[in-house]
């Protein structure tokens, strides 16, 4: 019970000295104000009002030469936690896309680079990674993130620090919640997705309905107990589903793991009279449900639908039998690798092959990040055109993203919609798995999703 304040002090003092020796001095306030920035709302004077080709360079006075400069894209995601199955390819997609852009001359000569941090799927880790990035670099231009939880948690920080974020986590709170506004989606928000898909199911009920089902569409929402898993059910989407005449008869959760057991959830749904199952998860989520439905002998009793991430090659790593995947319906807000006649897909395929990525990474994450980097690159170019490289800040990139409006990344592989207060796409296809892997068949072509943003 001796007190030793002194030793404490000495050690802490040493610690402090050591720490301060490690870190370079920095100004106490991390966000500098850009010195002489033109009004940010100004449209680039010579920009054509018509849809712009992604590689178009609208410059009268000739592009600036930024050779020797580096522009950094900060990126974090989950390489080691529950979402790792899909995040690995996501990161490789970003790396390879950046490499391709740099080989093609970069952004006016400036080289792009990606700095990645693994968060293990934890929101706290994501926040810590955000803090690390913003303290290393007091002029972060863009962040790419993954995971609804971290997108929601960081939305206010992005606004405060004026850093635009491209998010693959599509919870509506992250984009349209209070204190959000700098987050842009790499897909329609989940309420839009469930609304869009359920509308299709209701419209085509006579064709889709299971043998013993009645005329009423009764939905069981079986999903993960996470921000992502619960992201599709909001006040707006519930109201929209009610208007469609869809009754939600069960809301069950299961573990974020391919080892989860959904038997009890399925049986509860069945007991509640459900005939449609929606799950808002990554591919191993529906895989667990499809496996259990089959081993319970109940596959024929349900239409199974899910969010866009579910219809992916990674699904097959978890299905007990590839045939179990047949019939899965999801929104599909991008093209697929099998659309080989599309130049954007050809471009992605070239990058993929050039880097000798394994076949298992031929998935949605890779493709979407190639598109995402294209969006970032175009936004950088626009921002440099508008404010000049020396004034390039996160805020300038934010303005540029908004001005991109209905931008078609990679010439249409992905259709962004960032104009007029929208920060997520509102167009998608619907696809159904018909047959073996990659038979992701379009059953409804590009069309508008309902707009189920929260009303603030």
């Amino acid at each position: 019970m001796r007190k030793h304040i002194l030793p404490i002090l000495a050690i802490l003092l040493l610690t402090a000295l050591f720490l301060s020796a490690c870190g370079a001095p920095a100004t106490p306030e991390p966000t500098p104000v850009p010195p002489t920035k033109p009004p940010p709302t100004a449209v680039p004077p010579t920009a054509t009002p018509k849809p712009v080709e992604p590689t178009a360079v609208p410059e009268p006075k000739g592009p600036p030469d930024l050779t020797g400069e580096t522009i950094t894209i900060y990126h974090f995601g989950d390489l080691s936690g529950p979402y790792a199955a899909i995040t690995g390819p996501l990161i490789h997609g970003a790396e390879d896309a950046v490499k391709a852009i740099n080989e093609a001359g970069g952004i006016y000569g400036a080289q792009l680079e990606v700095k990645f941090s693994d968060t293990g799927g934890s929101v706290d880790e994501a926040v810590a990674a955000y803090d690390r990035f913003t303290s290393e670099d007091d002029n972060v231009l863009i962040m790419i993130m993954y995971g609804s939880g971290e997108a929601e948690a960081l939305a206010p920080r992005l606004v405060e620090d004026k850093i635009p974020g491209l998010s693959a986590g599509l919870s509506s709170q992250a984009f349209y919640g209070k204190e959000s506004g700098y987050t842009f989606g790499l897909g329609p928000i989940y309420p839009d997705q469930i609304g869009y898909t359920m509308k299709y199911i209701v419209d085509n009920w006579t064709d889709l309905k299971p043998e013993n089902a009645g005329d009423e569409v009764k939905l069981a929402y079986l999903s993960w107990p996470t921000a992502f898993g619960q992201g599709a059910l909001t006040d707006e989407s519930r109201a929209y589903l009610a208007d469609l005449g869809v009754e939600i008869v069960a809301e069950e959760t299961y573990d974020v793991s391919p080892a989860a057991d959904t038997t009890m959830a399925i049986l509860t749904a069945q007991a509640a009279g459900a005939n449609v199952i929606w799950t808002n998860t990554l591919a191993f989520g529906p895989a667990v449900i499809l496996n259990d439905l089959n081993s319970l002998g109940l596959r024929g009793d349900f239409v199974v639908a899910a969010d866009n991430w579910a219809q992916d090659l990674s699904l097959y790593a978890f299905l007990a039998d590839p045939a179990y995947g047949v019939g899965l319906i999801t929104p599909f807000p991008y093209l697929w690798w099998t659309d080989t006649d599309h130049p954007g897909i050809q471009y992605a395929q070239r990058i993929f092959e050039a880097n000798e990525r394994p076949a298992a990474e031929h998935n949605v994450g890779y493709l979407l990040l190639v598109a995402g980097v294209d969006i970032a690159k175009t936004a950088f170019e626009r921002a440099i055109d508008t404010v000049g490289y020396e004034n390039l800040t996160g805020e300038a990139v934010y303005q540029a993203l908004q001005e991109l409006g209905e931008y078609q990344a990679l010439g249409g592989v992905f259709r962004a919609d960032y104009a007029n207060g929208s920060r997520s796409p509102h167009e998608s296809q619907i696809r159904m798995i018909k047959g073996g892997p990659d038979a992701f068949t379009v059953i409804q072509d590009w069309s508008q999703t309902p707009d189920l943003r929260p009303k603030n």
């Binding site: 573990d255 793991s257 009890m264 259990d292 002998g297 790593a317 978890f318």
Partner: protein, 306 residues
Amino acid sequence: MNWQLLPQFTISGLLAGGPIALMALGLVLIFKSSYIFNFAQGQLLLLGTLLTWWLAVGLALPLWLAIVIALAASAVLGLLIERLTLRPMTGQPLLSIILMTLALGQFLQGMALLLFGGTQRNFPQMFSAANPYKIVTPFIYNERNIQIILKQNLVWSFVVAILGVVLIAAFFRFTRTGLAMRGASEDHELAQSIGLRINRIFGISWAMAGVVATVGGVLLATSSGLDLNISLLVLTAFPAVLLGGLESIPGVIVGGLIIGLSQGLVSASTVQFIRNSAEIMPYVVLMIVLLIRPEGLFGLKRIERI
């Protein structure tokens, strides 16, 4: 209560208790011989299962061979852990030993992630995923007899798990080594004085715990799939161990079944909040046990001396 689901969930819950009992057995084996509660049992299970996966999928060995090799390797791992990390701790206070197994768990979890990566993977199937067993009960609901549907792997995992527990119990009862281990668990000093090699017995019990863990892990993984979080499933076995009484082998079966049953029963509730409580039921049961009968159902009350 969803009455029509009650028979189904009662049976499913009980069956789910089998693997829980098997995991609990691993903990009891070690505790019985050395009074160490092994918080790293989950990681032992994880490594054994990952190894099986790697041999069967990575090296494309036949599954039975992969399992045999992995079981042998787990036994060695168990021995090594005992020798390298717990033997030096002999005589240390309870906290240090608890911390040692916790630290070991962290270390092994990091190791697993480093060696195998965090991706989820499919595990080779041992039981048919289709053709569930169906039992028609005499209970009538909505003018139909209530049917109980049981996945094949659930039933067979249960059978294998219970068989494993019975085998180990028989080993303790009828073999020389088993008898020696029982003797050692009664009194370490006494056992040593009559010539039992106490260290060897600790080693054997750790090796057995490693084997049991791997069997449990393979059963769980073949039912659904494998990721690093499988190590957390052992946490549901902790309450089963306490419920059964820390040193009782029959206790683990009863404990496992009660834990499984409690999870099944709350799942049949019509209230979602209660249904969701299935994941913490083991710990709710645990708190009740601690408050009412801390020595468990089959455990012994100890007389304190001063």
